[in-house]
């Protein structure tokens, strides 16, 4: 599925310089980055606007040519058709043909993947159900909401059962439930050995699902590592315990302050707004 060294994407000194009409350098969007993404991991590419993450993604997709450096995807140059056959891509915007229905557009993309007959029908029907578009399957994409169009975008990305999945802002435009479903779907795919590269601004979503992340700034990778390593603060602990009587808590805090020289911070453990929303909506009687 992967390559001999287990690297699905490998970039060495990858650079992209945009030039003007006279071929003079205009902007260096990506500045000699090194990147290694292994099989089965979910890798997050983070960064502010203009940091070079979309340019990096486009080079991996073969839409842009690197100015210098080496880039291999699944062991081959990114523009190789054999690579594209094993790759799925979901862009940030739903660049879909608005006059086609959900089924028609998936059939069209399935044809481009060379799928035919029962396999094509099985994949299309399965994905329509999986992304929750059964009721809207025969409506033109032009009539879809942004979230529904995103679901079609996700379905087309999985048509070929890809080994490498590239996602640009995958949860953008989705409601929290759909967002959770997408995240669960991606975690499931990663468990099946699929490699996933995500570009996103939604740091909470990235924290939820990514194994490793890289933070880009002005075309350079500033930080790279596992989410756990990046988030952990080894000097601080968080302890959750049943709320004790006030006197007992005060004695514990005094003791800790005496031992460490710092007064601990105490607050109530709370739920995230996402978990409250999901619980409220899923338990509501009108929810199917």
């Amino acid at each position: 599925m992967g390559t001999q060294n287990g690297l699905v994407i490998e970039a060495r000194k990858l650079t992209k310089i945009f030039r003007d009409f006279w071929h003079r350098p205009k902007v260096t969007a990506v500045h000699g980055i090194d990147l290694e993404i292994r099989q089965g991991e979910i890798f997050g590419l983070l960064g502010p606007n203009g940091s070079g993450k979309s340019t990096t993604l486009k080079m991996i997709l073969g839409l842009l040519h690197p100015s210098s450096g080496d880039l291999t995807v699944l062991g081959k140059p990114p523009h190789d058709v054999a690579v594209k056959a094993r790759m799925g891509f979901m862009p940030e915007e739903s660049y879909l043909y608005k006059y086609l229905t959900a089924v028609e557009i998936l059939n069209f993309y399935a044809n481009l993947y060379g799928l035919s007959g029962s396999l094509k029908k099985e994949r299309v029907e399965g994905l329509i159900t999986q992304v929750g578009l059964t009721a809207a399957r025969n409506r033109p994409i032009g009539e879809f909401s942004k979230g529904m169009a995103r679901r079609v975008g996700l379905a087309q990305c999985l048509l070929n059962d890809p080994d490498l999945i590239l996602l640009d802002e995958p949860t953008s435009g989705l409601d929290p439930i759909a967002c959770r479903e997408v995240k669960d779907l991606l975690l499931g795919l990663a468990k099946r050995g699929k490699t996933i590269l995500i570009c996103s601004h939604h740091l909470a979503d990235m924290q939820d699902i990514c194994d490793r992340v890289a933070i880009l700034l002005n075309g350079d990778i500033c930080t790279q590592g596992t989410v756990q390593d990046l988030l952990i603060n080894p000097d601080t602990l968080r302890l959750s315990l049943p709320a004790p009587p006030r006197e007992t808590l005060s004695a514990i805090l005094d003791y800790i302050e005496q031992e460490t020289g710092r007064r601990p911070v105490v607050d109530h453990t709370g739920r995230t707004l996402e978990s409250v929303f999901i619980e409220t909506v899923t338990r509501h009687p009108s929810t199917p």
Partner: protein, 456 residues
């Protein structure tokens, strides 16, 4: 696999045209134009005039509309999808860019085939209906039908071997020592040919001229042979000339048709099918009957010579061949549009492609410049001296003339409109030149540019 992908792109193009109501708008425009134009344009109030207007204007209208649309769809086919980034999801699929280009081209051609088929159906129906519903006498209707709703092969008169004749004449002049001084043999022969041609085609009062045609191999199947001719007079006033055509080789098979013609006006004569039954060479003689001293000159230019139209095949088959030639032109325009769209944004691509079309439309002037070597004919005095810039531009004109020659020569509209056959040779030439060569060159350039283009 490649076929599945290319067909998918082609069907997407067709589906887009259908769903975006482009096909419906185009069909409505074509139907309205094809039916409405002959009603709007007045003819000479003869049935033949009406039919000629139907055939000329409808075919020209359909060709123009489809050419512009093809170019527009071609330009937008690639560039618009790059611009609105719909290609992101297509290019990232496992297909080569040439498959994408080819699929788009095929899609446009499917639309063109459908619209040309509709055009053919409407033109044919209108032409037949106009003749059938006309108030003219049956004989006139039959004559018009024979003239226009039948494909005719054109036969030109057999021409004398001018070089042999002039060589012999030159030898006689040399022997008799009557060659003017300072005149080369070549110049003399050239002058002799000109004089002999003038002699041949000048018909004095009571005079005549004989034309011989090689009889066609095919049967006429009961249809008329048609003789087209035109005379010009040496006098400015256009008084009618009475004459008699004598058809047939031997007195036993000869028959006479009396005619009165105005100089400068094209005339048509239906000969029936009897004359086709005799020998391999058909002779047709023109004998002036008037004794007026008006000299009637039949110009030596070959286009002014009489022509014999011999039935060749059905109008419908001829129309189909003509529409196929037009389809080949559209194939090239689609390739041109797609190629422009591969490199440029939609408005710029459309501008460039239309500029090329306008240049092609000015092929008459291009041909004049390329063949005459001057940009204009001066009213007085000698032609101005050409600078190096003029010479450079002239060579550009030569180049462009060479390129556009097949496009301008392969025009079936005048043939369809005058009942002349669109030959199989012409259709094959159109296929070879316009599809096989020109479209392929456009495709190679377009695909190469498209492969190199970044889609950021």
């Amino acid at each position: 696999m490649m076929l599945i992908r290319t067909t998918a792109i082609a069907w997407l193009t067709v589906r887009e045209a259908v769903r975006s109501k482009l096909l419906l708008s185009l069909t409505s425009l074509l139907v309205a134009g094809l039916v409405g134009l002959p009603l709007l344009i007045s003819s000479d109030h003869t049935l033949a005039g009406k039919i000629q207007i139907i055939l000329t204007y409808t075919t020209t209208f359909a060709t123009t509309v489809l050419s512009l649309t093809t170019l527009w769809i071609g330009c937008g086919g690639v560039s618009a999808e790059i611009q609105d980034r719909r290609f992101y999801l297509v290019i990232t699929k496992p297909l080569h860019r040439y498959e994408l280009w080819l699929g788009k081209w095929m899609g446009i051609m499917v639309l063109n085939v459908a619209l040309l088929a509709l055009t053919g159906l409407i033109i044919s129906t209108m032409a037949h209906y106009t003749i059938q519903s006309a108030q003219e006498p049956l004989k006139e209707k039959r004559h018009v039908s024979e003239q226009f709703l039948l494909a005719h092969q054109i036969l030109r008169p057999l021409t004398p071997d001018w070089s042999k004749i002039t060589v012999e004449a030159t030898q006689r002049l040399v022997q008799s020592g009557r060659i003017p001084e300072k005149m080369t043999t070549e110049a003399l022969q050239k002058k002799l040919i000109e004089e002999l041609k003038i002699q041949r085609f000048t018909i004095p009062p009571k005079g005549g001229v004989l034309f011989s045609f090689q009889r066609p191999a095919a049967e006429t199947l009961g249809h008329d042979l048609i003789l087209n001719y035109r005379f010009d007079s040496t006098r400015p006033e256009r008084t009618p000339v009475a004459a008699s055509w004598v058809m047939g080789n031997t007195p036993a098979h000869q028959f006479h048709i009396g005619v009165t013609n105005y100089p400068g006006v094209p005339a048509t004569l239906a000969l029936g099918d009897d004359v086709s039954a005799a020998t391999n060479i058909l002779t047709v003689a023109y004998q002036r009957l008037d004794d007026d001293n008006q000299a009637t000159l039949m110009l030596a230019d070959q286009t002014q010579e009489p022509e014999l139209l011999v039935p060749y095949g059905s109008f419908e088959m001829n129309l189909m061949r003509g529409l196929f030639v037009i389809l080949c032109r559209l194939a090239f325009l689609a390739a041109l549009g797609l190629t422009a769209g591969c490199l440029l944004s939609t408005p710029v691509a459309v501008f460039v492609a239309f500029f090329i079309i306008i240049l092609m439309a000015s092929s008459g002037y291009v041909e004049f410049v390329a063949t005459s070597g001057v940009f204009y004919v001066p009213h007085e005095g000698p032609a101005p001296v050409q600078t190096w810039l003029d010479k450079m531009i002239l060579s550009l004109f030569h180049f462009f003339h060479g390129i556009t020659l097949p496009l301008t020569r392969l025009d079936p509209v005048p043939l369809i409109a005058t009942g002349r056959v669109v030959s199989l040779e012409m259709t094959l030439q159109a296929l070879g030149w316009l599809v096989g060569l020109y479209s392929t060159i456009a495709a190679v350039i377009g695909i190469t540019l498209f492969n190199r283009r970044e889609l950021g």
